[in-house]
Symmetry: C2
Subunit: 170 residues, 2 copies
């Protein structure tokens, strides 16, 4: 079952980076880094009485204003009941606006209000501060590798969506 890589079968270049031990370290690093990655926004969210789910909604509404609920659901990968609970509070609190579609009136298009944008900026600024510091520390080449590995780890369907967004925003 366990595929033991590295060791004997190096070709032109060393495959030592594929040993189980190296992969295990990568797994742990991913766990610890994700914690650091969410720590700062989590603190802000907590003060405002929101959670990580609200942050995700704000992020993706901000990224693609006017997106429909269904679209958001497929990006976030949660049920509509779960998303709706979050969306309802954001709309009630005046951070998100839900507009009836002009083409198809069944659809609701989501937009951040002014104060929604303000909170989203506060959250993403906090997150970017950490990420910018990390990026600066390691330099552009390491960052390029980072992004390559992350993309390769995504589910293909999500990678498609991820790169589609890249297209539309240049």
């Amino acid at each position: 079952m366990t595929e033991h890589s590295g060791g004997g079968r190096a070709g032109g270049e060393s495959l030592l980076f594929l040993t189980d031990e190296q992969l295990r370290k990568g797994i742990e690093a991913m766990f610890f880094a994700y914690r650091g990655f969410t720590a700062d926004p989590d603190r802000i969210l907590d003060e405002q009485g929101y959670g990580r789910a609200h942050h995700r909604a704000l992020h993706f509404i901000n990224r693609a204003p006017g997106n429909t609920v269904n679209n958001l659901l497929s990006i976030l990968g949660v049920t509509k009941q779960s998303l709706n609970r979050v969306l309802r509070t954001l709309i009630a609190d005046g951070l998100v606006e839900s507009r009836v579609g002009t083409q198809d009136k069944r659809e609701r298009h989501l937009y951040l209000t002014e104060i929604g944008v303000a909170l989203e900026h506060q959250l993403s600024d906090a997150q970017r501060v950490r990420m910018r510091a990390a990026y600066r520390t390691v330099g552009p080449q390491a960052v390029s590798g980072f992004r390559q590995v992350l993309e390769a780890m995504m589910d293909p369907e999500l990678r498609r969506k991820f790169n589609a967004a890249r297209e539309s925003r240049k």
Copy 2:
């Protein structure tokens, strides 16, 4: 509030990798990649009636057998009540053994049993398959960058623990 990087102030090398847009893409990539990263073990855990919390406990007990509960708590960053609930089921199911300390009998040292090891392997194998595929796709240099960025994003205290483990296992 927003710190606009990139654009004008490039020195010797381009700082375009530090623009808000690049950082935002990094944040999203992290979100999607983490989902892919946990997807495979999550499926296995679900079949067995366990959750991600059980996986984390199994992982870190396996990594450092004989670790105390307190130590595990500080690594996982949860409350003892939360960990205990998970630990109790794992012990009841015979996946984890809790031995009273010989030096200090208040401490409990945690070990995986044979079937605990078996499940841990099943889980980490699934996770490694995806990571190995990603690593192979992008090559050793990208992997090195990946690891550098992850380490730089961790909280310093956790980075210390992370690297301490590297020491002890070579």
